[in-house]
Protein backbone atom coordinates (compact mmCIF):
# COMPACT_ATOMS: atom_id res chain seq x y z
CA UNK A 1 0.00 0.00 0.00
CA UNK A 2 1.65 3.18 -1.21
CA UNK A 3 1.27 6.63 0.25
CA UNK A 4 1.56 9.46 -2.26
CA UNK A 5 1.71 12.98 -0.90
CA UNK A 6 1.82 15.95 -3.27
CA UNK A 7 2.11 19.63 -2.37
CA UNK A 8 0.69 19.00 1.09
CA UNK A 9 0.32 22.05 3.32
CA UNK A 10 -1.40 22.33 6.64
CA UNK A 11 -2.05 25.61 8.40
CA UNK A 12 -3.76 25.70 11.80
CA UNK A 13 -6.49 28.32 11.73
CA UNK A 14 -6.60 31.42 9.58
CA UNK A 15 -3.20 33.08 9.64
CA UNK A 16 -1.92 30.42 12.04
CA UNK A 17 1.34 28.51 11.94
CA UNK A 18 2.19 26.56 8.79
CA UNK A 19 2.90 23.09 10.15
CA UNK A 20 3.41 21.44 6.74
CA UNK A 21 4.72 23.40 3.80
CA UNK A 22 4.22 22.06 0.23
CA UNK A 23 5.36 18.62 1.18
CA UNK A 24 5.96 15.94 -1.48
CA UNK A 25 6.66 12.38 -0.41
CA UNK A 26 6.09 8.84 -1.63
CA UNK A 27 6.12 6.01 0.89
CA UNK A 28 6.35 2.46 -0.49
CA UNK A 29 5.15 -0.77 1.10
CA UNK A 30 7.39 -1.89 3.96
CA UNK A 31 8.97 -0.11 6.87
CA UNK A 32 9.51 3.61 6.46
CA UNK A 33 10.97 6.02 8.99
CA UNK A 34 10.04 9.64 9.48
CA UNK A 35 12.62 11.50 11.46
CA UNK A 36 12.53 15.05 12.72
CA UNK A 37 12.94 17.29 15.71
CA UNK A 38 9.99 18.11 17.97
CA UNK A 39 7.81 20.60 16.12
CA UNK A 40 9.07 19.55 12.69
CA UNK A 41 5.53 18.63 11.58
CA UNK A 42 5.66 14.84 12.02
CA UNK A 43 2.56 14.55 14.18
CA UNK A 44 0.60 16.87 11.90
CA UNK A 45 1.55 14.69 8.94
CA UNK A 46 0.54 11.53 10.82
CA UNK A 47 -2.80 13.09 11.73
CA UNK A 48 -3.48 14.09 8.13
CA UNK A 49 -2.66 10.54 6.99
CA UNK A 50 -4.99 9.09 9.62
CA UNK A 51 -7.83 11.30 8.39
CA UNK A 52 -7.93 13.35 11.58
CA UNK A 53 -6.93 16.62 9.93
CA UNK A 54 -7.94 18.01 6.55
CA UNK A 55 -5.08 19.37 4.43
CA UNK A 56 -5.05 23.11 3.75
CA UNK A 57 -3.62 22.40 0.30
CA UNK A 58 -2.26 19.46 -1.67
CA UNK A 59 -3.34 15.84 -1.91
CA UNK A 60 -2.76 12.62 -0.02
CA UNK A 61 -3.54 9.28 -1.66
CA UNK A 62 -3.20 6.06 0.30
CA UNK A 63 -3.62 2.89 -1.72
CA UNK A 64 -5.23 5.07 -4.36
CA UNK A 65 -7.75 6.59 -1.91
CA UNK A 66 -7.89 10.36 -1.46
CA UNK A 67 -8.04 10.92 2.32
CA UNK A 68 -9.64 14.35 1.84
CA UNK A 69 -12.83 12.70 0.58
CA UNK A 70 -15.28 10.91 2.84
CA UNK A 71 -15.21 7.56 0.98
CA UNK A 72 -11.43 7.76 0.66
CA UNK A 73 -10.99 8.47 4.35
CA UNK A 74 -13.30 5.61 5.29
CA UNK A 75 -11.46 3.22 2.97
CA UNK A 76 -8.14 4.20 4.55
CA UNK A 77 -9.44 3.97 8.12
CA UNK A 78 -10.70 0.45 7.43
CA UNK A 79 -7.13 -0.73 6.82
CA UNK A 80 -5.42 1.61 9.27
CA UNK A 81 -3.77 0.88 12.58
CA UNK A 82 -2.94 4.15 14.32
CA UNK A 83 -0.93 4.75 17.44
CA UNK A 84 -1.04 8.45 18.30
CA UNK A 85 1.76 10.21 20.10
CA UNK A 86 -0.39 11.14 23.10
CA UNK A 87 -2.35 7.97 23.56
CA UNK A 88 -5.17 8.21 26.08
CA UNK A 89 -7.18 5.38 27.57
CA UNK A 90 -10.38 5.08 29.59
CA UNK A 91 -9.21 4.46 33.16
CA UNK A 92 -12.50 2.77 34.10
CA UNK A 93 -12.02 -0.05 31.59
CA UNK A 94 -9.73 -3.04 31.85
CA UNK A 95 -7.08 -3.60 29.20
CA UNK A 96 -9.18 -6.37 27.66
CA UNK A 97 -12.33 -4.23 27.60
CA UNK A 98 -10.53 -1.27 26.06
CA UNK A 99 -9.22 -3.44 23.24
CA UNK A 100 -12.65 -4.99 22.77
CA UNK A 101 -14.21 -1.52 22.52
CA UNK A 102 -11.75 -0.39 19.86
CA UNK A 103 -12.15 -3.73 18.06
CA UNK A 104 -15.90 -3.16 17.85
CA UNK A 105 -15.35 0.35 16.49
CA UNK A 106 -12.99 -1.10 13.91
CA UNK A 107 -15.70 -3.47 12.77
CA UNK A 108 -14.51 -6.76 14.28
CA UNK A 109 -18.03 -8.00 14.88
CA UNK A 110 -18.05 -11.74 15.52
CA UNK A 111 -17.83 -12.24 19.31
CA UNK A 112 -15.60 -15.31 19.68
CA UNK A 113 -13.23 -14.26 16.87
CA UNK A 114 -12.98 -10.76 18.29
CA UNK A 115 -12.27 -12.01 21.80
CA UNK A 116 -9.66 -14.40 20.40
CA UNK A 117 -7.96 -11.57 18.51
CA UNK A 118 -7.92 -9.41 21.65
CA UNK A 119 -6.41 -12.28 23.63
CA UNK A 120 -3.72 -12.84 20.95
CA UNK A 121 -2.70 -9.21 21.01
CA UNK A 122 -2.64 -9.07 24.79
CA UNK A 123 -0.28 -12.03 24.63
CA UNK A 124 1.79 -10.34 21.93
CA UNK A 125 2.35 -7.25 24.07
CA UNK A 126 2.85 -9.37 27.21
CA UNK A 127 -0.21 -8.05 29.05
CA UNK A 128 -2.22 -11.25 29.41
CA UNK A 129 -1.62 -11.31 33.15
CA UNK A 130 -2.86 -7.74 33.56
CA UNK A 131 -5.66 -7.91 30.98
CA UNK A 132 -8.46 -7.79 33.52
CA UNK A 133 -7.04 -4.95 35.59
CA UNK A 134 -8.43 -1.45 35.19
CA UNK A 135 -6.29 0.78 32.99
CA UNK A 136 -6.01 3.39 35.75
CA UNK A 137 -3.52 1.04 37.41
CA UNK A 138 -1.31 0.59 34.33
CA UNK A 139 2.14 2.14 34.12
CA UNK A 140 3.07 4.43 31.20
CA UNK A 141 4.84 1.55 29.45
CA UNK A 142 1.86 -0.77 29.89
CA UNK A 143 -0.48 1.85 28.44
CA UNK A 144 1.87 2.22 25.50
CA UNK A 145 1.71 -1.53 24.95
CA UNK A 146 -2.08 -1.40 25.04
CA UNK A 147 -1.80 1.34 22.42
CA UNK A 148 0.34 -0.89 20.25
CA UNK A 149 -2.12 -3.75 20.64
CA UNK A 150 -5.10 -1.62 19.64
CA UNK A 151 -3.25 -0.45 16.52
CA UNK A 152 -2.86 -4.08 15.42
CA UNK A 153 -6.44 -5.15 16.14
CA UNK A 154 -7.89 -5.27 12.63
CA UNK A 155 -4.73 -6.71 11.08
CA UNK A 156 -4.05 -3.36 9.39
CA UNK A 157 -2.39 -3.00 6.00
CA UNK A 158 -1.23 0.46 6.99
CA UNK A 159 0.31 1.06 10.36
CA UNK A 160 1.02 4.63 11.46
CA UNK A 161 2.92 4.84 14.71
CA UNK A 162 3.81 8.21 16.16
CA UNK A 163 6.65 8.17 18.68
CA UNK A 164 5.80 4.58 19.62
CA UNK A 165 8.73 3.90 21.92
CA UNK A 166 8.33 6.98 24.10
CA UNK A 167 7.96 5.82 27.69
CA UNK A 168 9.12 2.26 27.04
CA UNK A 169 12.06 0.77 28.91
CA UNK A 170 15.06 -0.47 26.85
CA UNK A 171 13.84 -4.06 26.71
CA UNK A 172 10.33 -3.05 25.68
CA UNK A 173 11.76 -0.69 23.09
CA UNK A 174 13.83 -3.44 21.49
CA UNK A 175 10.90 -5.85 21.56
CA UNK A 176 8.61 -3.29 19.95
CA UNK A 177 11.12 -2.42 17.25
CA UNK A 178 11.47 -6.11 16.41
CA UNK A 179 7.70 -6.47 16.31
CA UNK A 180 7.35 -3.53 13.93
CA UNK A 181 9.99 -4.97 11.60
CA UNK A 182 8.23 -8.36 11.61
CA UNK A 183 4.92 -6.69 10.81
CA UNK A 184 6.29 -4.70 7.89
CA UNK A 185 6.37 -7.48 5.23
CA UNK A 186 3.32 -6.84 3.06
CA UNK A 187 2.21 -3.83 5.11
CA UNK A 188 3.22 -0.21 5.06
CA UNK A 189 4.56 0.77 8.45
CA UNK A 190 5.21 4.46 8.93
CA UNK A 191 7.31 5.05 12.00
CA UNK A 192 7.54 8.63 13.12
CA UNK A 193 10.08 9.45 15.79
CA UNK A 194 12.74 11.83 16.95
CA UNK A 195 14.77 8.90 18.28
CA UNK A 196 17.40 8.17 15.64
CA UNK A 197 18.22 4.76 17.07
CA UNK A 198 14.65 3.51 16.45
CA UNK A 199 14.99 4.32 12.77
CA UNK A 200 18.53 2.93 12.52
CA UNK A 201 17.40 -0.42 13.89
CA UNK A 202 14.23 -0.85 11.82
CA UNK A 203 14.14 1.10 8.55
CA UNK A 204 15.99 1.05 5.26
CA UNK A 205 14.05 3.98 3.82
CA UNK A 206 13.38 7.21 5.61
CA UNK A 207 12.57 10.87 5.26
CA UNK A 208 13.67 13.75 7.45
CA UNK A 209 11.18 16.48 8.18
CA UNK A 210 12.39 19.95 9.19
CA UNK A 211 10.28 23.08 9.41
CA UNK A 212 7.31 21.33 7.80
CA UNK A 213 9.27 20.33 4.70
CA UNK A 214 11.10 17.22 3.55
CA UNK A 215 14.78 17.89 4.15
CA UNK A 216 15.87 14.42 3.06
CA UNK A 217 14.44 11.30 1.40
CA UNK A 218 16.55 8.22 0.90
CA UNK A 219 18.13 5.26 2.65
CA UNK A 220 19.66 5.05 6.09
CA UNK A 221 23.08 4.60 4.46
CA UNK A 222 22.59 7.73 2.35
CA UNK A 223 21.63 9.81 5.38
CA UNK A 224 24.63 8.46 7.25
CA UNK A 225 26.86 9.54 4.35
CA UNK A 226 25.65 13.12 4.79
CA UNK A 227 28.21 13.33 7.61
CA UNK A 228 31.13 11.79 5.74
CA UNK A 229 34.35 13.69 6.60
CA UNK A 230 32.40 15.81 9.11
CA UNK A 231 32.65 13.69 12.26
CA UNK A 232 35.51 14.20 14.67
CA UNK A 233 36.76 12.83 17.95
CA UNK A 234 38.43 15.36 20.23
CA UNK A 235 39.90 14.42 23.60
CA UNK A 236 40.71 17.37 25.82
CA UNK A 237 40.81 18.40 29.45
CA UNK A 238 39.76 21.89 28.43
CA UNK A 239 36.41 23.27 27.33
CA UNK A 240 34.28 21.58 24.67
CA UNK A 241 35.13 22.49 21.07
CA UNK A 242 33.32 25.68 20.08
CA UNK A 243 32.86 24.76 16.43
CA UNK A 244 30.27 22.23 15.23
CA UNK A 245 27.70 20.18 17.14
CA UNK A 246 28.79 18.04 20.07
CA UNK A 247 27.12 14.65 19.68
CA UNK A 248 28.51 13.03 22.81
CA UNK A 249 30.93 13.63 25.67
CA UNK A 250 32.56 10.68 27.43
CA UNK A 251 35.06 10.86 30.31
CA UNK A 252 38.38 9.52 29.00
CA UNK A 253 41.33 9.43 31.39
CA UNK A 254 42.05 12.92 32.64
CA UNK A 255 39.95 14.58 29.94
CA UNK A 256 36.73 14.24 28.04
CA UNK A 257 36.35 12.65 24.61
CA UNK A 258 33.97 14.68 22.48
CA UNK A 259 32.30 13.46 19.32
CA UNK A 260 31.69 16.49 17.12
CA UNK A 261 29.91 17.02 13.81
CA UNK A 262 31.59 19.92 12.03
CA UNK A 263 32.46 20.79 8.43
CA UNK A 264 36.12 21.28 9.37
CA UNK A 265 38.30 19.91 12.19
CA UNK A 266 37.04 21.67 15.35
CA UNK A 267 40.45 21.49 17.07
CA UNK A 268 44.08 20.73 16.25
CA UNK A 269 43.95 17.36 18.01
CA UNK A 270 40.68 16.35 16.27
CA UNK A 271 40.70 12.89 14.67
CA UNK A 272 38.23 11.99 11.89
CA UNK A 273 35.90 9.08 12.69
CA UNK A 274 33.25 7.10 10.78
CA UNK A 275 29.79 8.66 10.82
CA UNK A 276 26.66 7.08 12.27
CA UNK A 277 23.03 7.76 11.30
CA UNK A 278 22.76 10.24 14.15
CA UNK A 279 25.78 12.13 12.79
CA UNK A 280 24.24 12.16 9.33
CA UNK A 281 20.97 13.48 10.74
CA UNK A 282 22.74 16.23 12.67
CA UNK A 283 24.82 17.18 9.66
CA UNK A 284 21.67 17.38 7.55
CA UNK A 285 19.49 19.23 10.05
CA UNK A 286 22.25 21.72 10.69
CA UNK A 287 22.38 22.42 6.95
CA UNK A 288 18.63 22.53 6.35
CA UNK A 289 18.11 24.65 9.46
CA UNK A 290 20.58 27.21 8.24
CA UNK A 291 19.02 27.10 4.74
CA UNK A 292 15.40 27.44 5.86
CA UNK A 293 16.17 29.85 8.65
CA UNK A 294 14.89 27.70 11.52
CA UNK A 295 16.78 26.79 14.64
Amino acid sequence: MWIEIAGLSKRYGRGGALALDRLDLTVPTGMFGLLGANGAGKTTLMRVLAGLLRPTAGTVHIGGNDVATRPGKLAVQQVLGYLPQDLGVYPDLTGREFLDYIALLKGLEAGPARRRRVAELLELVALTGDADRRLRGYSGGMRRRIGIAQALLADPRLLIVDEPTAGLDPQERIRFRTLLSQLAGERTVLLSTHIVEDIAQTCHQLAVLAGGRIAFRGTVAELTRQATDQVWSVTTAGPAPAAGTVVSALPDGAGIRYRVVAAAAPAEEAVPVDPTLEDGYLALVGTSASVSGIG
Binding site: R47, A50, G51, L52, L53, R54, L74, Q77, Q78, L80, Y82, P84, D86, L87, G88, V89, Y90, P91, D92, L93, E97, Y101, I102, L104, L105, K106, G107, Q150
Partner: protein, 265 residues
Protein backbone atom coordinates in the same frame (compact mmCIF):
# COMPACT_ATOMS: atom_id res chain seq x y z
CA UNK B 1 -23.20 2.85 17.94
CA UNK B 2 -23.81 -0.35 19.92
CA UNK B 3 -20.14 -0.50 20.94
CA UNK B 4 -20.20 3.06 22.26
CA UNK B 5 -23.53 2.45 24.05
CA UNK B 6 -22.25 -0.74 25.63
CA UNK B 7 -18.99 0.67 26.91
CA UNK B 8 -20.26 4.12 27.94
CA UNK B 9 -22.97 2.34 29.93
CA UNK B 10 -20.39 0.15 31.58
CA UNK B 11 -18.01 3.03 32.35
CA UNK B 12 -20.71 5.22 33.89
CA UNK B 13 -22.02 2.40 36.05
CA UNK B 14 -18.48 1.98 37.40
CA UNK B 15 -18.23 5.64 38.26
CA UNK B 16 -18.31 5.96 42.02
CA UNK B 17 -19.36 9.62 41.85
CA UNK B 18 -22.66 8.62 40.27
CA UNK B 19 -23.58 6.26 43.08
CA UNK B 20 -22.38 8.61 45.80
CA UNK B 21 -24.24 11.65 44.44
CA UNK B 22 -27.45 9.83 43.60
CA UNK B 23 -27.31 7.85 46.83
CA UNK B 24 -26.94 11.05 48.84
CA UNK B 25 -29.83 12.72 47.03
CA UNK B 26 -31.99 9.62 47.41
CA UNK B 27 -31.21 9.46 51.14
CA UNK B 28 -32.07 13.13 51.51
CA UNK B 29 -35.30 12.57 49.60
CA UNK B 30 -36.25 9.63 51.79
CA UNK B 31 -35.63 11.75 54.89
CA UNK B 32 -37.60 14.76 53.70
CA UNK B 33 -40.48 12.93 52.01
CA UNK B 34 -40.89 10.00 54.41
CA UNK B 35 -43.98 11.43 56.05
CA UNK B 36 -45.65 12.39 52.77
CA UNK B 37 -45.00 8.93 51.32
CA UNK B 38 -46.26 7.13 54.41
CA UNK B 39 -49.46 9.23 54.36
CA UNK B 40 -49.91 8.35 50.70
CA UNK B 41 -49.29 4.66 51.41
CA UNK B 42 -51.91 4.67 54.19
CA UNK B 43 -54.63 6.52 52.32
CA UNK B 44 -53.94 6.28 48.56
CA UNK B 45 -54.45 3.62 45.94
CA UNK B 46 -51.56 1.68 44.41
CA UNK B 47 -51.70 3.99 41.41
CA UNK B 48 -51.57 7.13 43.57
CA UNK B 49 -48.63 5.81 45.56
CA UNK B 50 -46.63 4.85 42.48
CA UNK B 51 -47.38 8.06 40.62
CA UNK B 52 -46.65 10.35 43.58
CA UNK B 53 -43.38 8.50 44.22
CA UNK B 54 -42.44 8.91 40.57
CA UNK B 55 -42.98 12.66 40.96
CA UNK B 56 -40.82 12.83 44.09
CA UNK B 57 -38.01 10.83 42.51
CA UNK B 58 -38.17 12.88 39.33
CA UNK B 59 -38.20 16.16 41.19
CA UNK B 60 -34.76 15.74 42.74
CA UNK B 61 -32.74 12.90 41.17
CA UNK B 62 -32.27 14.59 37.75
CA UNK B 63 -30.48 17.45 39.54
CA UNK B 64 -27.82 14.89 40.50
CA UNK B 65 -27.57 12.79 37.35
CA UNK B 66 -27.49 15.86 35.09
CA UNK B 67 -24.20 16.83 36.73
CA UNK B 68 -22.89 13.26 36.70
CA UNK B 69 -23.46 12.96 32.93
CA UNK B 70 -21.94 16.33 32.13
CA UNK B 71 -18.37 15.14 31.52
CA UNK B 72 -19.22 12.15 29.33
CA UNK B 73 -18.67 13.68 25.87
CA UNK B 74 -15.83 16.03 26.74
CA UNK B 75 -14.01 13.29 28.63
CA UNK B 76 -12.77 11.45 25.51
CA UNK B 77 -10.95 14.57 24.34
CA UNK B 78 -9.60 15.31 27.83
CA UNK B 79 -8.29 11.78 28.23
CA UNK B 80 -6.72 11.79 24.76
CA UNK B 81 -8.89 8.93 23.48
CA UNK B 82 -10.83 11.04 20.97
CA UNK B 83 -8.20 10.91 18.22
CA UNK B 84 -7.99 7.15 18.57
CA UNK B 85 -11.76 6.85 18.18
CA UNK B 86 -11.79 9.34 15.29
CA UNK B 87 -9.20 7.23 13.45
CA UNK B 88 -11.54 4.23 13.40
CA UNK B 89 -14.06 3.75 10.58
CA UNK B 90 -16.96 4.01 13.06
CA UNK B 91 -18.98 7.15 12.16
CA UNK B 92 -18.66 9.95 14.72
CA UNK B 93 -22.41 10.58 14.80
CA UNK B 94 -23.13 6.94 15.49
CA UNK B 95 -20.59 6.97 18.30
CA UNK B 96 -22.17 10.09 19.79
CA UNK B 97 -25.67 8.60 19.67
CA UNK B 98 -24.31 5.39 21.16
CA UNK B 99 -22.63 7.31 23.96
CA UNK B 100 -25.88 9.17 24.60
CA UNK B 101 -27.96 6.01 24.80
CA UNK B 102 -25.36 4.26 26.92
CA UNK B 103 -25.03 7.02 29.50
CA UNK B 104 -28.79 7.57 29.61
CA UNK B 105 -29.31 3.85 30.23
CA UNK B 106 -26.72 3.96 33.01
CA UNK B 107 -28.17 7.14 34.52
CA UNK B 108 -31.58 5.48 34.63
CA UNK B 109 -30.27 2.60 36.74
CA UNK B 110 -30.15 4.34 40.17
CA UNK B 111 -33.63 5.92 39.82
CA UNK B 112 -34.93 2.57 38.55
CA UNK B 113 -33.40 0.69 41.49
CA UNK B 114 -34.82 3.20 43.94
CA UNK B 115 -38.23 3.37 42.33
CA UNK B 116 -38.79 -0.28 41.51
CA UNK B 117 -37.27 -1.26 44.84
CA UNK B 118 -39.91 0.83 46.56
CA UNK B 119 -42.63 -0.49 44.22
CA UNK B 120 -41.64 -4.10 44.91
CA UNK B 121 -41.62 -3.48 48.63
CA UNK B 122 -45.01 -1.79 48.48
CA UNK B 123 -46.51 -4.51 46.29
CA UNK B 124 -45.18 -7.21 48.60
CA UNK B 125 -46.26 -5.58 51.85
CA UNK B 126 -49.72 -4.55 50.68
CA UNK B 127 -50.40 -7.51 48.42
CA UNK B 128 -51.09 -5.31 45.40
CA UNK B 129 -49.07 -6.55 42.43
CA UNK B 130 -50.84 -3.95 40.28
CA UNK B 131 -48.45 -1.45 41.85
CA UNK B 132 -45.66 -2.91 39.72
CA UNK B 133 -47.68 -2.26 36.56
CA UNK B 134 -48.34 1.35 37.60
CA UNK B 135 -44.68 1.74 38.46
CA UNK B 136 -43.68 0.50 35.03
CA UNK B 137 -46.10 2.88 33.32
CA UNK B 138 -44.98 5.87 35.41
CA UNK B 139 -41.32 5.03 34.87
CA UNK B 140 -41.78 4.87 31.09
CA UNK B 141 -43.77 8.10 30.80
CA UNK B 142 -42.33 10.26 33.59
CA UNK B 143 -38.83 9.18 34.62
CA UNK B 144 -37.51 7.94 31.27
CA UNK B 145 -38.34 11.06 29.18
CA UNK B 146 -36.62 13.12 31.88
CA UNK B 147 -33.47 10.98 31.64
CA UNK B 148 -33.43 11.31 27.84
CA UNK B 149 -34.03 15.07 27.92
CA UNK B 150 -31.55 15.83 30.67
CA UNK B 151 -29.03 13.38 29.20
CA UNK B 152 -28.93 15.14 25.84
CA UNK B 153 -28.35 18.60 27.26
CA UNK B 154 -25.97 17.39 29.95
CA UNK B 155 -23.83 15.81 27.23
CA UNK B 156 -23.78 18.63 24.70
CA UNK B 157 -23.86 21.87 26.71
CA UNK B 158 -20.48 21.21 28.42
CA UNK B 159 -18.94 21.16 24.91
CA UNK B 160 -19.38 24.94 24.93
CA UNK B 161 -19.49 25.73 28.65
CA UNK B 162 -16.94 24.92 31.37
CA UNK B 163 -18.04 21.88 33.35
CA UNK B 164 -18.30 23.47 36.83
CA UNK B 165 -20.23 26.41 35.41
CA UNK B 166 -22.60 24.03 33.64
CA UNK B 167 -23.26 22.13 36.86
CA UNK B 168 -24.07 25.32 38.79
CA UNK B 169 -26.31 26.65 36.02
CA UNK B 170 -27.96 23.29 35.50
CA UNK B 171 -28.92 22.80 39.15
CA UNK B 172 -30.24 26.37 39.15
CA UNK B 173 -32.20 25.67 35.97
CA UNK B 174 -33.60 22.43 37.34
CA UNK B 175 -35.25 23.98 40.37
CA UNK B 176 -36.16 27.23 38.57
CA UNK B 177 -37.69 25.41 35.61
CA UNK B 178 -39.40 22.58 37.49
CA UNK B 179 -40.18 23.61 41.04
CA UNK B 180 -40.61 27.40 41.24
CA UNK B 181 -44.25 28.45 40.96
CA UNK B 182 -45.11 30.48 37.82
CA UNK B 183 -47.18 32.70 40.09
CA UNK B 184 -43.96 33.91 41.72
CA UNK B 185 -41.72 34.61 38.72
CA UNK B 186 -41.40 33.79 35.01
CA UNK B 187 -40.40 30.13 34.78
CA UNK B 188 -40.75 27.03 32.61
CA UNK B 189 -42.51 25.21 35.46
CA UNK B 190 -45.85 23.64 34.43
CA UNK B 191 -45.08 24.07 30.70
CA UNK B 192 -44.84 21.34 28.08
CA UNK B 193 -41.05 21.72 28.33
CA UNK B 194 -40.95 20.70 31.97
CA UNK B 195 -39.08 17.38 32.28
CA UNK B 196 -40.29 16.77 35.84
CA UNK B 197 -43.32 15.15 34.20
CA UNK B 198 -46.29 17.31 35.26
CA UNK B 199 -48.24 16.65 32.06
CA UNK B 200 -47.95 12.84 32.05
CA UNK B 201 -48.63 12.70 35.79
CA UNK B 202 -51.83 14.70 35.46
CA UNK B 203 -52.84 14.06 31.84
CA UNK B 204 -52.24 10.30 31.83
CA UNK B 205 -52.62 9.33 35.48
CA UNK B 206 -54.99 12.06 36.72
CA UNK B 207 -52.87 12.62 39.79
CA UNK B 208 -53.35 15.97 41.52
CA UNK B 209 -51.64 15.26 44.82
CA UNK B 210 -53.01 13.79 48.07
CA UNK B 211 -55.64 16.55 48.45
CA UNK B 212 -56.43 16.82 44.74
CA UNK B 213 -55.19 20.40 44.37
CA UNK B 214 -51.54 20.00 43.34
CA UNK B 215 -50.77 22.09 40.26
CA UNK B 216 -47.80 20.78 38.26
CA UNK B 217 -49.07 21.36 34.74
CA UNK B 218 -51.36 23.70 32.86
CA UNK B 219 -52.06 27.43 32.89
CA UNK B 220 -51.53 29.68 35.90
CA UNK B 221 -53.58 32.90 36.17
CA UNK B 222 -51.55 35.98 35.17
CA UNK B 223 -48.34 33.97 34.63
CA UNK B 224 -46.05 34.51 31.63
CA UNK B 225 -45.51 31.69 29.10
CA UNK B 226 -49.06 30.42 29.53
CA UNK B 227 -49.04 29.71 25.80
CA UNK B 228 -46.81 26.77 26.71
CA UNK B 229 -49.24 25.62 29.41
CA UNK B 230 -52.28 24.00 27.80
CA UNK B 231 -54.62 22.13 30.12
CA UNK B 232 -53.40 18.65 31.07
CA UNK B 233 -55.06 15.97 28.95
CA UNK B 234 -53.79 12.65 27.62
CA UNK B 235 -53.07 14.46 24.35
CA UNK B 236 -51.00 17.22 25.93
CA UNK B 237 -49.24 14.62 28.08
CA UNK B 238 -48.03 12.78 24.98
CA UNK B 239 -47.28 16.13 23.36
CA UNK B 240 -45.08 17.08 26.33
CA UNK B 241 -43.19 13.79 26.08
CA UNK B 242 -42.79 14.30 22.33
CA UNK B 243 -41.55 17.88 22.81
CA UNK B 244 -38.96 16.77 25.36
CA UNK B 245 -37.69 13.97 23.12
CA UNK B 246 -37.66 16.25 20.08
CA UNK B 247 -35.68 18.87 21.99
CA UNK B 248 -33.18 16.18 23.00
CA UNK B 249 -32.90 14.95 19.40
CA UNK B 250 -32.45 18.49 18.14
CA UNK B 251 -29.65 19.18 20.63
CA UNK B 252 -27.84 16.00 19.60
CA UNK B 253 -28.34 16.58 15.87
CA UNK B 254 -27.07 20.16 16.07
CA UNK B 255 -24.04 19.04 18.03
CA UNK B 256 -23.30 16.22 15.59
CA UNK B 257 -23.50 18.61 12.64
CA UNK B 258 -21.24 21.20 14.30
CA UNK B 259 -18.71 18.59 15.35
CA UNK B 260 -18.63 17.11 11.84
CA UNK B 261 -17.80 20.55 10.46
CA UNK B 262 -15.06 21.31 12.94
CA UNK B 263 -13.53 17.87 13.59
CA UNK B 264 -11.01 17.74 10.76
CA UNK B 265 -10.23 21.42 10.36
Amino acid sequence: MIAAARYEWRMLLRRRAMWVSMGSVAALLALVAARQVSDEVRTGTAKDVMVSTAYLVNLVLPAAYGCVLADRLIRSAKLGVAQLLDATPAPATGRMVGSYLGVCAAAAVPPALLYFGFAGLYAGLTGTPAALGWALAAFATVLLPAVLFVGAFALVVPLVLPLPLFCVLYVGYWFWGNAVSPALLPTLTQTLLTPVGGYPLQGLFGWYGPDGTLAISGPVPHATLNALRPAATPGTAWLSIAVLLAAAALALATTAALRARTRTR
